[in-house]
Symmetry: D3
C-alpha cells in the first residue's frame, strides 16, 4: 500500500471493496449515495461520495493504525474497514430511490458495527433512518445549520428540508433529535413549532459560545444516529456546500461535539451530507470531510 494520495485505485481510505450482497463482517462499512435531486439550490452532491473517497486516500489506514503525536498512542490499529460502493439510484422515480437506500442501509447495518453513509443531499437521511426502525429508543444528533423539519416545501414532502419530519412520522422508535449549529436569517416557523412540540433540542450557533452547556444537552447512554450536514461548518472552513450560512462552526468545535456524543452513547450510524465538491476547486473541502470521518472513527474505536 502506497501513501501517495495521487496514486492507486480508489476506495475509502484504501479499504477493501466488498459487495453488499457478499457475506462479510467488519467493524466499519462505508456506503455512497450519489443523489442530489431533492429541491434545494446548487446541485452536485452526487459527486460527493467519489470526492470523499479520493480525498480519503490521504488517510489510508495502515494495519498498525495512526500514530497520534499528542497522546503518543496508536489509533485504529487492526480496524476492519470496508467500502461497499454506491447504491444505484434512479432519479425520476424518487420512491424507488428511497426504497433502495433503505434496503442497502439495512444490508450494511447487518454486516458492520458502524455503517457510514456518504451523501448526497440531506433528503437521503429519511430513507437511511428507516433502516434503523429496529433500534431501541433511537436518538439523533444532527449537526446542521438548518432544521430540516419542514412539512412540505415547493409541493414536495421529501426534499432535503424534510428528512427528519418524515422520519419522525414513520419511526415510532425515534425518540428525540438534538440539532446543533442552527443559524440563518429565516426559519420555517411551523417546522420549529413542530420540532419543539416533540421536545427536540434546538441549539443555535449562538449557544455554542458556551460549549460545555451544549455538551450537557447531548443524549447519554442512548443509541445515537449522527447526521452531519457539512453546512454546519463555517463556509470559510468548508466552502463546498449548496446552502452556506455565515458564522458557522469551527472544525474543532464540531469534533468536540462528535467526540462527546460518541463517548456518552452508542453510535449506531453516521451520515455525512450536502458536500458539493465542485464549489471548492481547491479540493480542500473534500480533504477536510475525509479527515473528519477518519477522526470520528478514532473516537468511536478507542
Amino acid at each position: 500500500m502506497t501513501h501517495l494520495p495521487f496514486s492507486g485505485l480508489i476506495s475509502f481510505a484504501r479499504a477493501p471493496i466488498l459487495d453488499l450482497a457478499a457475506d462479510f463482517r467488519a467493524d466499519v462499512g462505508v456506503l455512497g449515495l450519489p443523489f442530489d435531486i431533492a429541491l434545494g439550490f446548487r446541485p452536485g452532491a452526487r459527486f460527493a461520495p467519489r470526492a470523499i473517497r479520493e480525498a480519503s486516500l490521504r488517510y489510508a489506514l495502515p494495519p498498525e493504525g495512526f500514530y497520534d503525536l499528542r497522546t503518543g498512542q496508536r489509533k485504529l490499529a487492526g480496524l476492519q474497514l470496508v467500502d461497499a460502493g454506491d447504491v444505484i439510484l434512479p432519479s425520476l422515480e424518487p420512491e424507488l430511490a428511497r426504497n433502495r437506500i433503505t434496503e442497502a442501509a439495512q444490508q450494511l447495518k447487518s454486516r458492520v458495527k458502524l455503517p457510514i453513509f456518504l451523501g448526497g443531499d440531506h433528503s437521503v437521511s429519511y430513507p437511511l433512518l428507516r433502516a434503523f426502525s429496529d433500534v431501541k429508543d433511537l436518538h439523533i444528533v444532527q449537526l446542521d445549520a438548518h432544521l430540516d423539519f419542514t412539512d412540505v416545501r415547493n409541493d414536495t414532502r421529501f426534499s432535503n428540508s424534510s428528512p427528519f419530519r418524515r422520519a419522525c412520522e414513520d419511526l415510532p422508535n425515534l425518540k428525540h433529535i438534538t440539532t446543533i449549529g442552527l443559524r440563518g436569517l429565516r426559519f420555517d416557523e411551523e417546522a420549529v413549532q413542530a420540532a419543539k412540540s416533540r421536545g427536540h433540542a434546538l441549539v443555535g450557533m449562538w449557544d455554542c459560545a458556551d460549549l460545555e452547556k451544549v455538551i450537557q444537552q447531548l443524549p447519554e447512554g442512548k443509541n445515537v444516529y449522527l447526521s452531519f450536514d457539512v453546512d454546519v461548518l463555517d463556509p470559510a472552513v468548508l466552502p463546498a456546500t449548496s446552502s452556506p450560512e455565515v458564522d458557522g462552526m469551527s472544525y474543532a468545535t464540531a469534533m468536540t461535539l462528535i467526540r462527546e456524543t460518541v463517548k456518552r452513547n452508542t453510535l449506531v450510524g453516521l451520515d455525512v451530507v450536502e458536500l458539493t465538491p465542485a464549489l471548492d476547486a481547491s479540493g480542500n473541502s473534500n480533504l477536510l470531510i475525509a479527515r473528519l470521518i477518519m477522526e470520528t472513527l478514532t473516537e468511536v474505536f478507542s
Copy 2:
C-alpha cells in the same frame, strides 16, 4: 435602454416581463424550465435559463432591429418579444413537475406566435411536447448528439434519454422525427430500432459532411417543433454541457440547419436544452446560446 451587457435588470434580451396569467399577445415568448434532475451525468442545467437570460443582454433588441452587415438590412424591427419567467418546479414530485411544464407551455403557446423554452435537461421536451398535441401533423427536428429515444434507463421511463419515446406514445399527431448530429461510441440498440421502425430519420454527424443531402431530408411544409440539444455542437465550441461528444457540429452548420428548417416549414415551438453553465467558467457557452436563439429569430421573422 442601455446596451452595456453588465448593467441593468435581467430579462431575455431586455424584453418586457409578463406573467403567464396575464392576458397578453406577442410574437415571441420565452419561458424558463430550471429542471435538471433527470438521470444523467453532471447536473447544473437548472441554472441555464438564468445564464441564457444574462448572456442575452448582449443582444438586447432595439425597436429598429439589428443592422446586418452582410445584407445591409435591418432585422427583427418591431418584434414583440416577451419574457414569461420560469415555471416553478418541484423536484421530488416529477409527475407534478411534468404537468406544470405542460400547462405553462400551453399558456405560452396560446399567447405568442413562437414559444421558446429554455431548459433544463432534455427530459423537459416530453411535457413540452404534450402542449402541442393539438398541432396538426407535428414534425420534430431534433439537433442532438444523442437519440433520446430510450424506453427505460436506470429504472425510469422519464429520464433525459427518453423524452421523444414518451412523446411518440402519447401524441398521435406526432408524425415524424428527424434527428441530426448523432454520434458517440455506443447507442441503445433497442431505441435505434424503435425509432427506425417508426420511420424516423437518424442522421449521423458523419452524414453532415454532405450538408446538402442532409437538408433534403428535412421536412417540408410541416408544422415543426425544433428541439436543440446544445450537445449537438462540438465541445470545443460549447464546452458547457453534461455529456459532451467529440467531433460535433460547428455553429455555422447548426445555423444552416435551423435556417433551412424554418424556411421550409412553420416553426411552432423551440426548446434549447442541456446547457450547464458551471462547466464553462468563461461564460462563452452562454453567450453563444443566447446568440443562437436571437439568430434563429432573425430567420423566422424575416
Copy 3:
C-alpha cells in the same frame, strides 16, 4: 413567489422593479452602480450589483416577514422594498458618470426611507454622498480596511482611494467620519494626517479586540450614512474583493457594529462596495453580502 433561489426572474430579494422616473414611495430602494474603473487592482466590481441581486433570491422577503429562530419573532413583515435597477454609466467620461450617480441617488433618496446603493468600487461613494448634501449634520460610519482619504493617487483625485476626501471638500454638512477596521502594511501618511486634523475617528482592526470600546466611539443621535467596503471583512470570510487585507473582521463583528450604529442613529443611506464576484467562484461571497444587507434591514426596521 418561489423560494427556489435558482428559479425565476431576478430583482433584489424578489422586490418589484420600479423605474426611478416613476412616482413611487417605499421603505427601502435598491440601486445598482456597475462601475469599477477607478484606479485599483483587480477589476470586476461592475458585476457586483447583478451578483448581489442573484444571491439575494435566497432571501426573498415573504409578506409575513422572516421568522427568527433566536427571538421567535417575525421581522420585516410588510416592508416595502423596491428595486430601482442600475444607473447607466459611461466610463471614459468619469465626470458625467459621477453626475449621473448623484442625480440617481437624489431621486431614490426622495422616494424611499432608506436608499441602498450596490457598488461598484469605492469611488462611487463620493458622488453618492453629494446626494446627501442637504442632510443636517451628516456623519459617516465607514467599515473598511482602507482609509480612502487620499488626496491624489496616480494623477487622479477621483480614484477609489479618495471618495471621502472629495466628499469632505464638497459637503459642508459632512461633520465627521468614523472609519473602523483599518489595517494593512502601509498607509498614506498625508491622508492619515488630513483625516485626523478633521477630527475623524480612525479605528484599527487591532482596536476591535475591545469591541465595547469601539462601539462607544460610534456617533449617537446623528444622521448617519453607512459605507460598507466588503474588504473590511476577513478574506477567509469574503475572498471576493480587489484588495484583500488579512486578519480582518468577522461577519458577526461587522453586524454588531452595524446594529449598534443603526440603533443609536438615523440611517440615511447605505452603500456596499468593492465586491468582485469573479474572485470567488463558489459564489459564497455574493450570498454573504446579500444576507448582510437583508440583516441590516432587520436591524433598521424593527
Copy 4:
C-alpha cells in the same frame, strides 16, 4: 538563459528590460498598456501585458534564433529585442492616460524598427496611432470581429468601439483601413456607412472562405500599422476575450493574413488588444498570443 518557462524573472521573451527614457536602439521594442476601462463588457485586459510576457517565456529567443522544422532554417538569429515595460496610466483621467500612451509610443517608435504594443482594450489604438501621425500615407490592417468605428457609444467618444473613428478624425495621413474578420449579430449602421464612405475595406468572416481574394484586398507597398484584436480568432481557439463572437478565424488564417500583410508592406507598428487572461483559466490563450507575436516577428525579420 533557461528555457524552463516556469523559472526566472519575466520580460518579453526574456529580452533585456530598458527604460524608455534610456538612449537605446533595437530592432523590436515591446510596450505594455495595462488599461481596460473603456466601456465594454468584461474587464481584465489590464492584466494582459503581464500575462503575455509570462507566456512569452516559452519563446525565449536564443542568440542563434529558432530552428524551424519545416524549412530547416534558423529564424530571428541576432534579433535585438527589448522590453520597455508598461506605461503608467491613471484611470479616472482618461485624457491624461491617452496623452501618456501617445508620448510613450512616440518614444518607443523613435528607438526601434518595430514597436509592439500590448493592450489593454482596443481604445488604446487611438492614442497609439497618434504617435504615427508623421508616417507617410499610413494604412491600417485591422484583424477584428468588430468594426470599432462608432462615433459615440454610451455617451463617450473614446470607448473601445471608437478608436479608428477618432484616429481618422485626427490623423490626415491615415489613408485607409482594411478590417478583416467582421461578424456578429448586429452592427452600428452609422459606423458602417462612415467607414464605407471613407473607402475602407470591410471584410466579413464569411469572405474569408476565399482567402486568396481577401489577400488581394490587402494594401501593397504601404506603411502599415497592424492592429490585432484577439477576438478576431474563434472563441474555441482563444476564449479569453471580453466580447467573443462565434465562428471566428483560425490561427492559421490569421497568420496567413499577417504574413501576407508584412510581405507586401512595411510594418510600422503592431498592437495586440482585448486579451482578458482571467477568462481562460488554462492560460492557453496567453500562450497562443505570445506565439503569434513571435511568429509575426519571424515573418517581419526574415
Copy 5:
C-alpha cells in the same frame, strides 16, 4: 453494473481490478503511471491515470459490447479488460522509478494481448519501451506535437524531451519511429538531425492536410508500439496539456491515423501521456481521452 457515470467505484471502464502479482490473463490491461516530474512546464499529469479512469466510467463496457449506430454492429463483445492499478513511483529517485516502470510493464505485457499505459508525462515512454526489448523489429508510431528526441535538456538526459532518444540507444530491436503531428515555433536542431540520420519519419502537422499521403508513410506488417501524446490534438479540442501547440490535430484525424496504424500492423503496446487534468476544469479533456482509448480498442479488437 450501472451506467451512471457519477456513481460506483472507479476502475478503467468498470473493468475488474487485478494485481500485477496475480496470475491472470486478459485481452487488455490498463496500468497507471502517476509520474510528472520530468522537466517541463505545468505539472499535474500525475493525476491523469485517476482522471482517465473516472472519465472512462462513461464507457463502461457491457458484456454484449457497444452497439455502433453507423455500422449497426456490436463491438468489443466479450472483451476481457483488466485494470492493473498504478505503479508506485518514488520521485527523487528517478532511476528507481524508471526501473519500476519497466518491471511493471514487463509483467503486464506478459499477461495481456494489449497493454495500455496511462501517463504521466512523456518521460515514462522510455522505461516503458524497455519492456519491449524482446519484440522483433519494433516500430513506434508517435502522435505528438513535439519530437521528444533531445539528447540533453537542462542538464538531464531523462526529461520528457528525450524518451525516444534514450530508447533508441538502449533497444537494438527498435527499428524505426514515425512521428506525426509535429509543429511549433522552434525545434531542437540536433534532435531533428539525429532522428533523420536514423531514418525516422518526421511528419509535420502541415503534411496532414494530405492525410492519404501520411497514411502511406505508416509502417506495414510490423510490431508497433503507439505512443499518444495528447498535445498532438488541437488545444481547442483538448486544452488540458502542459505544453499546448496551436493548430493541432482533430480527434477525427487522430482516430484515422490510429485506425490505419492498427489495421496495417500488430499493436503491441499503447501509451497515452501528458494529460494534465487540472488545466481543463470542465473535465471534457478527460472524457475525450477515455473515449479515444476505448475507440482504439474497437479498432484493435474487431
Copy 6:
C-alpha cells in the same frame, strides 16, 4: 515607480534585479527555487516564486519606507532590497539540483545580511541549510503543520518529508530545531522519536492556545534560520497548499511567533515553502505570503 500592482515589470517588491554572479551588497536578497518534484501530493509549487513576486508588487517599497498607522512610524526606509532571480534546476537529476541550490544560497548569503528563499516544496530546505554549515550554533525555527523529519518515504531520503533529518545528519553546527504548529491525524512515529531524541521542541497547534508559553520555548540569542511552511496557516486563511491541515494557525499568531523569534535572535536566513498558487484561483494566498515576507522585514529591520 508606480504602485499600480497590475502594471510594470515584475521583481520582488519592485527591487532591482541583480545576478548572483555580480558583485553586489545589500540588506536583503530574494532568491527563487522553482522546484516541486519531491514526493508529495499536489504539484505546482514551482510557480510560487513567480506568484509571490507578482503579489509583492502590492508592497513595492518606496525609498521613504512604509508608514505604519498603528505606530505612526516609517518602516524599512532606505532598505536595500535585491531580487537575485531563480536558480535553474534540473528535475531528473535531483542531486545536481540540490548542489545548485546550495551553491546559489552560499552566494546570496555572502552578499546580503538576510537571504530570503522562495520555494518550491519543503525539500529545498535541506540544500539551503547546507549553505549555513558555517554558522555557529545554528538553530532552526520551523513553522509547519508537519514535522518533516522522516528518514525514508516511498523509497527516497530526499522528499519534502525529510529535509531536516538530512540537515541534522550533515550539519554538525545545527544544534536545535523548534517546530511549531504541528497537527494532523497521523505522524511518523520513528521521525517523532528521532526528533525528540535530539532534543528538538515539538509544539503542537493545540499548545498555541497558550501563546506566551510557546514564545518562551523559542531560542534566545542564537543564530536562527526560519523555515516557514505555508501549511502552518489555517487552510481557510491560506488554501493554496499541497497538503492542508484543518484547524491551523492564524496570520496574527504566525506573525507574533516570527516577531518574537527575530526579536530574541539573529535571523540568518528565511525560507517560505509549499505555496501552490493554482490551488487558490483568487490569488489571495499569494498576496498574503508576499505581505508576510514584507512584514517580517519590518520586524527584522527596525
